[in-house]
Symmetry: D3
Subunit: 281 residues, 6 copies
């Protein structure tokens, strides 16, 4: 999933925010030799995500821990289900608790919201839900993973993964045709070219310019349907802008290929996960 | 506010996620010499937060930018208000756009939610709203700043800032009295000792043990009132657990000193902020 | 071009390899107040690349330097031409000299080699020269920039930029059709799908499977021509494998779209650039 | 050889360039549980170097790999020889493949070139081949190791390891005598003092000034011989400047002690190494 | 004690200062396969501190080492006692030797000095010895741990752990009352408020302003006694300024609660520890 | 002196230990707009060292500061002398105060101790005082600079700067002759070879083996004199082991070339420097 250095860098920084001076409370109240079992428990229905990250937090506090991921990534857990089990020194479990939960709650929150969007796609529709680059600074790789864990797909990873031409690029390039042509000449032959349009007229120009993907920005459902008819499969069509759960079905039914949802990563509420800790000695 | 190294480390990592390979689209469609003005505009009513971070993103892309923070931190902006203005090379503005907005939307989202909680405190109540350590991994300092910008206060910063004894600590220490005593003996003389209790009986023991702060975990409003009467000011009382906007007034009216709200940082929806870009040459 | 944090991280590590303990020789033999002018001079004909990196090295040694990039990036310089001029404390110039030259020689070496390959494309051919991911660990962004500076193009940036299916992926997926189908289902809608084939039969299958790009691995010139005829524009065709300068024209004449050359980055000899230093005081 | 932190820092950065977003292709086409064996195979005759680095790349992708270095460092491998064998999850092997090869090809390329230069020293000559500080930014320690693996020796490691006085230092110090004297007074008593000279007259002055090592810059073979006679062992003599393989024998026969070759690290072509991957399940 | 990432970052930087280029001497004189046992031995009476850090240094050089901490942290060792034993490759032990000793000598030096101060507290006194923030840049967490290991206590960890109002804050705030009031309003409810006073009058004001802790700056012993009488337990009293070992008893006898000693961390002489190395093969 | 990246890395880590969460006290009690002047003042006689580091700390807190280094590096300051003056926002000055002083006190402490050792060398002696590698982990470059600022010299910088053969190396190599020979064959031609001896007999062997430098370990003064007579200038002689201020003159008078003193860096007491802060607005 993630390389070790990548994951440890993120986790170590999170631990540094919380525990660089140690943990006054555990050092004061828990003997160094006390062992314990910590069980992460779902406090709501959720889609499980982040178990390996959760576990790795404790390994970065103290190598001497045992780990069992009771719920696989992507599973649907019910309120009360056991998710992850860690055994080791009680102090280490208490030091890592908050950081580990902060990761798991965020990632499961995203996966749970992504799954809800995916479920809102009506049967028979080919539309897929995708995320955006509106991710939390520092956590993009983890959050894109959570989106996939919830069953949705990813948009381009970064500014180098593909071309995505917006209105300002069009103005700067001197029109849609020139923008697409300049992009084709510049971009790697492995990259598709996506362009954002505001009107059906612009869509028409974009299609004729040879765009591979067209983002239909804030089109209403009727206009989306016209756009689909207009495009006749010549480009992948992406509906975007203010997509909420209750609108997904209608948008999907227009026949668009892709529905992008910024809220998946920028506004997913944390999933409620608690940590039950039991002393073993 | 933040030291330069601290802020740049966070921003540089965010830029690395998005722009380490450059920006295919801008390089292809915008001439290197083209200048532009980018204006961050509120797309909803919000409490402004993160202007200096937003601006610093562009300075880390290209030192040659001019910055004007039209809206001061903590100001209430209306939908449509101009917030921050950046001028410089169009390519640099386009490279930094998404990263800068990701910061500003998150921080303004937190400030806006914090302000809503603070406003829900009824006049005459001395209760204060505080955050928790349920922050985004890597962004704690920024998010705590956003909480303050919204008018709320911070809880302890990290595991070394103060003692906070929870149920597992109590079990490990052998009871509330022993836990408080061990903490008093161990912790710096500059740290208060907070303890979490589940019942009024535990509150009574905690008060007699000399705890400075008592967290009343998931107490209903009536029990909170009894707790306040019982404590008679001998300790700071903190109400916590499932605090939502509509419950704040009733909780505050019980007379507790502090109301802690995890959602301020773990579930604040991003504030909607757009970037209008105008080419200058 | 590069964000400041990205460039400074690379430069600071290079300086740390050479100068963390200071510079015995300059400290011993040059007075602290002595000023000097350093001029980077081409010692061979070359394509200029890396001026901003060269200059930034000195700024990271000592902020108090003046910089003039006499030769623009991508220019063809003759043996003896002045390229970059730095003025400042003589000690700082001597400390940064080797590190700055190490960057400039490598990047100009790559740009020069890339330009030679581009020039070998015969007039009228639409074929483009591209690099590969065979870059120096730690310097990919700089080296890809040097390739572009030399007039060639980049292949995909990293493992997330596009799909590139090789023989082992095909075996693991259970054949070309399944591999392409699985990739289409998984990859972002902004990514093209490239597949490597060893034979014309595999090319035929790949085309029918809907691959966007097909890499023809070590095809001889005659077979490349047949491949072009077979494909009839249904996919971008990339010739790869042992491409040397003397073969480029023949390969381009087959009609392939792309010719990828690993040597651009893994075996470009350093361009010879010297630093003439003149004391000013 | 290298400390763990040093090696992991270099490797993790290389992996970050390629795999921070994951690997679209392997994730799409290879099942998570598939196991494989990857064998690095020489595609040309070469001197083996970088096996431990190659292997460590895979350990940083996924701890669960088995490693066998079939060819020891410094061994002469024939085209077709198996070098290193890695077993583990197929996805991990595919993620690490390019990065691991980029290291091994570069290091083996340097070792192979260094060995060629060493072999060009005629029997009976005491001359040794050494590298320079013209190394790849970020990879100095690895490249110096490769030079040693190829049988050559290292020059000074960095600006603090020894004194090396060049023409500008001489001018700044006010002549050769003063430069050597200032260096002797300043440098640690553990450092030798090397000085670069352009003429036999300067050599004479340098010898009388007590330089420990004298670099004879671009001396032709006849002048080198005179220099050796002149020095009569009073200093170590280093021949430098434009040393190519075909000139080594003649230079060595002049009796100089050291021949330094910048090309060992700045222009060694990558050794051709392939990775054969076989699925195990 | 310390999280792995935190400790490794400090150790890796220390190793980078000494061993990034390898170790000329060991590589030259010790065969790669030679095994050895290294025993850290006290060369003076001391309080043991830093064993886990000492051991970890060798693990970061070479994973293949065996470790035995013969003396537990905080134990009193006599001159000649064996402290820590490491077995492994002789080269690895020699590479890590100086760095490991630099840590152990510093930490044991601090623990030894702290223990001396603690022992100087007369029986029956409740006064505790605490450190200050005058720690070595980069080593605060380790040095605070050494202070605790010596039996003393820590002051606040950092600028966010508690409020500590000094003279300039008082001036800026407009007097002691206002400073305390502003601090109470701003600081987390988990933080105590400490204030520094120069006179008994200021102490009186500080007590009435409700300060939790008062630092009595450079009070002589008689004035300290008056201060204790004046305070009557309303605040924790901290004596500070020029506290040397011979003054501790008299200061403690005044009845102050806390005696802070900057010298614990800024001027503790290194404890003398040697490393005896025995070759095993 | 130091490159910017090197210095900022050290300073930023120090600031992170103290101020990552901000500064409760200054934020609470000092208005954001308040300006101030901070003057570092010697509280004892000392040799000034660390002014540029002191100043840079404040620049890393807030770019908007003015700096004046009233006392040059290496100057002898009297108790009460003004050393460095910083003007800027009062909050920034208070945030940086402790960290800046921690650097300046340590570096001036080392410079002051080094100067005392240098002064103890009797007139007419050629002996020089040098430091060792017993430096504070993470601060070697700064501490070696402080040693030079105090007028002493540096020993080798790290394990790659020169060869230094100790008893274990001798045993592993099979005797002094073989150790020196192996070192000569392996080490760069720019490195001297130092060897540690315990007896005059060993010294004799070392001299005949051609060692460049011989460390005389814990020789008494009489034996040092014999050693000097024995060596007759064939090698640099370094006296080492338990060198205290009162022994320096006698040791120097034996005629040894170098006297190395570990205490310069591992046990120098901090110089007392205070910061007087005056509000400007």
């Amino acid at each position: 999933m993630f390389s070790i250095g990548q994951l440890d860098r993120i986790i170590d920084q999170a631990l540094a925010e919380d525990a660089n001076g140690g943990d006054l409370t555990s050092e004061a109240t828990v003997d160094a030799g006390t062992l314990a079992r910590a069980v992460a428990v779902a406090r709501q229905d959720l889609v499980v995500c982040g178990g390996p990250v959760f576990a790795r937090v404790f390994e970065r506090v103290d190598r001497d821990v045992g780990i069992r991921l009771a719920a696989p990534e992507g599973a649907r857990a019910k309120n009360g289900d056991e998710l992850f089990v860690i055994e080791g020194r009680a102090r280490a479990l208490l030091v890592g608790e908050r950081t580990a939960l902060n990761f798991a709650q965020r990632l499961s929150g995203i996966a749970t919201l992504a799954a809800a969007f995916v479920q809102a796609i009506p049967p028979g529709s080919k539309a897929v839900i995708v995320d955006t680059r509106k991710t939390t600074p520092g956590l993009r790789a983890l959050e894109r993973y959570a989106v996939r864990t919830g069953g949705a797909k990813n948009h381009r990873n970064d500014l180098t993964s593909a071309v995505f031409i917006k209105d300002n690029h069009i103005v700067a390039a001197g029109g849609i045709e020139r923008a697409v042509a300049r992009a084709r000449a510049y971009a790697p032959h492995t990259s598709r070219i996506e362009i954002e349009v505001q009107t059906l007229d612009e869509l028409d120009i974009a299609l004729r310019a040879g765009a591979d993907v067209v983002l239909l920005d804030n089109f209403d459902v009727d206009t989306l349907s016209i756009a689909v008819a207009l495009a006749r499969g010549r480009a992948v069509l992406e509906a975007s802008g203010g997509v909420t759960l209750d609108k997904v079905e209608a948008i999907a039914n227009t026949g668009v290929d892709v529905i992008s949802v910024g809220a998946l990563t920028h506004s997913a509420p944390a999933a409620d996960i608690g940590l039950d800790l039991e002393l073993l000695s």
